[in-house]
């Protein structure tokens, strides 16, 4: 037993000197440079999934999403109410009991990587949040659904045209007045920066908050991505074309998030069944939207 332990220790040391590990360490050093120590801020405790898909007012629907997806395995994250920036936290235990609620969080943050070294978290009631930007963002009226359709369409089109988006990336956004909150997941640095660049240069866009997470590549995740795409290309081939797809497959640490749209409930259900049967998959969040094709004009 002890011999096995000693070999494991050796392998650990070996890994720590491997080129990939060294590369990661170098990246971490770079990220440290952007570390910020901030005073505490009011935050909403969300699930990673809902935070990156439903950025908008904290409605009952959003709270339900947070609680349900957290129970299903999505990690808890903090959403800073002042500007809707999402932070993954190092000590999830400190916040996990408050998913769907609010709190005052303190610690070291890294905005670019969207991470926070949590030092303290005190749960608070919604009514205790001080008046200001934070409460403004809780108000459903702040989120402009009407009156900015043109701007919304411009942003949507720009994001649709990002060249390096694949089946494994999904970038979403929300308009808050003229400000844009970018969310989603990507496997490439360039997609995160390109999305922000494209949106910032649109006339009429105000502040841009970039909550797009760069996914870890991970050996097992790569296997899952390839297997998931291959499985869906067989069973849902009509949703794939030569250089893209209607269905997006986001894989993060063994969890699959299915996004996009399918035409029938059967396609929705079979996608879940297909992916649940893949080796190494912990959970499938099927967030596909079922949108039946518009009836053809008989005239």
């Amino acid at each position: 037993m002890k011999r096995i332990l000693s070999i494991l220790c050796g392998l650990l040391i070996l890994y720590s000197y491997s080129p990939s590990s060294l590369a990661i360490q170098d990246k971490d050093k770079d990220k440290d440079k952007e570390k910020e120590v901030t005073p505490s801020f009011p935050a909403y405790v969300d699930s990673d999934l809902c935070a990156r898909l439903m950025l908008g007012p904290i409605t009952t629907q959003r709270v339900d999403c947070s609680v349900k997806t957290y129970k299903d395995g999505s990690n808890p994250v903090l959403v800073r109410l002042d500007d809707n920036t999402i932070f993954s936290v190092n000590k999830e235990k400190m916040v996990k009991d408050y998913v769907g609620g609010f709190g005052e969080a303190s610690g070291d943050i890294k905005v670019k990587s969207g991470t926070m070294k949590l030092k303290g978290f005190t749960p608070i009631e919604r009514s205790q949040i001080p008046e200001g930007p934070a409460t403004k963002l809780l108000d459903v009226r702040t989120y402009q659904a009407k009156g900015s359709a043109q701007l919304h369409e411009k942003v949507r089109h720009e994001l649709a045209m990002i060249a390096y988006i694949t089946t494994f990336d999904f970038i979403s956004f929300t308009l808050v007045g003229n400000d844009v909150i970018l969310t989603g997941w990507t496997v490439r640095d360039t997609n995160r920066s390109d999305a922000e660049y494209r949106v910032k240069k649109i006339e009429g866009v105000g502040k841009v908050t970039n909550n797009i997470e760069i996914l870890p590549l991970g050996g097992i995740d790569m296997e899952i991505r390839a297997a998931a795409r291959s499985a869906l290309q067989r069973t849902h081939s009509t949703y794939f074309w030569s250089n893209g797809s209607d269905i997006k497959i986001v894989v993060k640490n063994g969890t699959i998030i299915l996004l996009g749209a399918v035409r029938t409930q059967q396609d929705f259900d079979t996608a879940t069944i297909q992916l649940n049967s893949l080796s190494g998959v912990f959970h499938v969040f099927n967030m596909l939207r079922v949108t039946p094709p518009a009836p053809k004009d008989k005239g």
């Binding site: 990939s20 950025l55 045209m161 060249a163 494994f168 909150i181 490439r188 790569m222 074309w241 893209g244």
Partner: protein, 254 residues
């Protein structure tokens, strides 16, 4: 007590072994794997690529670049998003004396180009070390290298180390291919020939820092940049693909 001592011995032994292996595998320069080959006589290409017949002129790239990109809907450049950048190989000109190619010069050359390639592609294709699905392997060769003259210490600044013998890169070109890292199947390829002219040479181990060798530095940066341009042009959404991507995309934050 004896068991405990044995445990610590085993731990120390395995740590030493691991450290030695780490140095041997992780910390040693990858370029030592590279070797010098020669372009066969009367051949247009070096033979580094298995097939040159499918290469065609690329209108997106200036000059004499020939490229190939797989058109298979299920296996093309857009099917991959990570990359392994292999050590760069060197092919000397047919009439060059390969035995006179200084190892240090070759390493300086290939090291610089490999780093330039990594810099050029890494934000679009995350660079990894191990083969896996969805990962490409970038194989690259510098072809047509010739032996240059002796390098006098006075030709380089005092704080830089001159090479014994310079490498002439006035007539070099680049051949590269992207293959599936698991199966080896070719997904894309490029042959880029540029005549840099007389005087383009590498004469110091850290040539990238010296004005005298600016032509070499610029040439390698340019080639790396053209590899990226090629990848960008293959990813650009055009025609029906652009229409489909636009129609398909609906954000969730509504």
């Amino acid at each position: 007590m004896n068991r405990s001592r044995y445990f610590w011995k085993a731990l120390a032994g395995s740590l030493c072994l691991a450290f030695a292996m780490a140095i041997a595998t992780g910390c040693s320069p990858a370029e030592t794997k590279a070797s010098v080959k020669k372009i066969p006589a009367n051949q247009e290409f070096s033979g580094f690529l298995k097939d040159y017949a499918s290469l065609k002129p690329n209108p997106n790239l200036d000059g004499n670049a020939l490229t190939f990109a797989a058109a298979d809907a299920k296996q093309n450049l857009r099917s991959y998003f990570a990359i392994i950048v292999d050590p760069v190989e060197v092919y000397v000109a047919t009439d060059a004396d390969a035995s006179k190619v200084d190892d240090e010069a070759r390493i300086a050359l290939t090291n610089y180009f490999q780093h330039a390639l990594v810099d050029a592609v890494s934000d679009a294709f995350p660079v990894v070390n191990e083969p896996s699905p969805l990962t490409l392997r970038l194989r690259t060769a510098i072809v047509g290298v010739d032996v240059g003259g002796q390098v006098a210490a006075g030709d380089v600044p005092a704080d830089a180390k001159p090479l014994h013998q310079a490498l002439n890169i006035g007539k070099v070109g680049v051949e590269m291919e992207l293959v599936d890292s698991k199966t080896g199947e070719r997904i894309a390829a490029m042959v880029d020939k540029t005549n840099l002219g007389a005087g383009a040479e590498v004469g110091a181990a850290n040539f990238s820092r010296m004005q005298k060798f600016a032509a070499a530095r610029e040439a390698f940066d340019e080639w790396a940049s053209r590899v990226r341009t090629f990848l960008d042009s293959e990813h650009e959404l055009k025609g029906e693909d652009a229409v489909k991507a636009d129609q398909s995309y609906r954000p969730y934050g509504e």
